[in-house]
């Protein structure tokens, strides 16, 4: 009984990745939010303001955009389901993430102060860390929900992060990682969406 329930829970969660729309949206957000480093560093104020507004509206309205697209594409084909994620888990993830970030900042500052390490040398590895972090998260999701395309994007992100850190200055490398990772998500989501549209025809006139 427990196995059947776990399997059904897994199916419900995997269901939200079926159409690739979340990956496409996430790919666009990541690509814009990190890939816009060059706009920020250019110091061109109107460009920065427009860029920030685009990012903010994507973050605020991202869920609504996904829902609106799904209402036209996914719900008429394979139905609508809202996964059940306990609030305690969301809160715990937020608290742990924030604490992890704070600890990391403290450790880096401590190392720089005590060992006199050069922060610029450390920052060269930020893109590698970003690539490894994205990769680890995607591989985890891929393994947990049995999604091979997430594994491919995860491994790609790891190689891209390390490679860009070695080859380019860190600001450029970070943009390359973000744009590359975002593009990989766009492609993976795009292929998933195409295959979904081909294999799942719409059902009747609503339910």
């Amino acid at each position: 009984m427990h196995d059947a329930l776990s399997e059904a829970r897994m199916r419900a969660r995997r269901f939200s990745f079926r159409d690739g729309i979340e990956e496409i949206t996430l790919g666009v957000i990541i690509m814009l939010s990190f890939g816009g480093n060059s706009i920020i560093h250019s110091g061109y104020l109107p460009g920065i303001v427009i860029y920030e507004l685009v990012i903010l509206s994507l973050v605020v309205y991202g869920r609504r955009i996904i829902d609106a697209v799904r209402a036209r594409i996914t719900y008429p084909r394979s139905g609508y389901v809202q996964s059940f994620i306990p609030r305690s888990r969301i809160l715990a993830s937020f608290v742990l993430g924030s604490l992890g970030g704070l600890v990391l900042v403290r450790v880096v500052r401590h190392v720089c102060r005590v060992d006199g390490a050069n922060l610029a040398e450390w920052s060269q590895w930020v893109p590698a860390l970003a690539g490894l972090g994205f990769g680890a998260a995607w591989i985890y999701v891929g393994m947990r929900y049995g999604l091979r395309r997430f594994l491919v994007v995860g491994v790609f992100s790891m190689f891209l992060g390390v490679g860009a850190s070695i080859e380019f200055p860190w600001i450029l490398a970070l943009s390359i990682v973000a744009v590359g990772f975002g593009c990989a998500n766009l492609c993976s989501g795009g292929f998933a969406l195409l295959s979904y549209l081909r294999t799942t025809p719409p059902v009747g006139n609503g339910t």
């Binding site: 009984m1 609508y80 059940f84 339910t207």
Partner: protein, 113 residues
């Protein structure tokens, strides 16, 4: 009478019916789902699914909301608090009856696979 077997008699018959059990188990794991998703998951026919949903709604285990997504009509179903509690109780009773080593109806049978 094996006293441990009596746990089976405590099972909620409304949920115990296989089609309704599939529906309840599916809805227990999500916040809400529409008719099409339930049909896809349970592979029941429209008529069959409708009648089982109506029975669960009658018992107060289920809420059915008729709504629209854009111009498309949609029937959204979700378990009520009572429905969730009943499903949890059903699962616990079934586990006690069949799988608990000390009180299970079939003793240690679950160890032999």
């Amino acid at each position: 009478v094996n006293s441990r077997l009596r746990h089976i008699a405590d099972l909620d018959r409304l949920i115990h019916e296989p089609a309704r059990l599939m529906i309840a188990a599916t809805l227990y794991l999500v916040e809400e789902a529409d008719f099409l998703y339930l049909q896809d998951q349970t592979q029941l026919t429209k008529g069959n699914l409708s009648s089982h949903l109506a029975k669960l709604e009658e018992a107060g285990y289920l809420e059915i909301e008729k709504t629209y997504r854009g111009k498309i009509p949609m029937t959204v179903c979700r378990l009520t608090k009572k429905g969730r509690a009943s499903f949890r109780a059903y699962e616990a009773t079934l586990r006690r009856a069949l799988f608990e080593p000390t009180s299970g109806a079939f003793g240690t049978s679950q160890i032999v696979r």
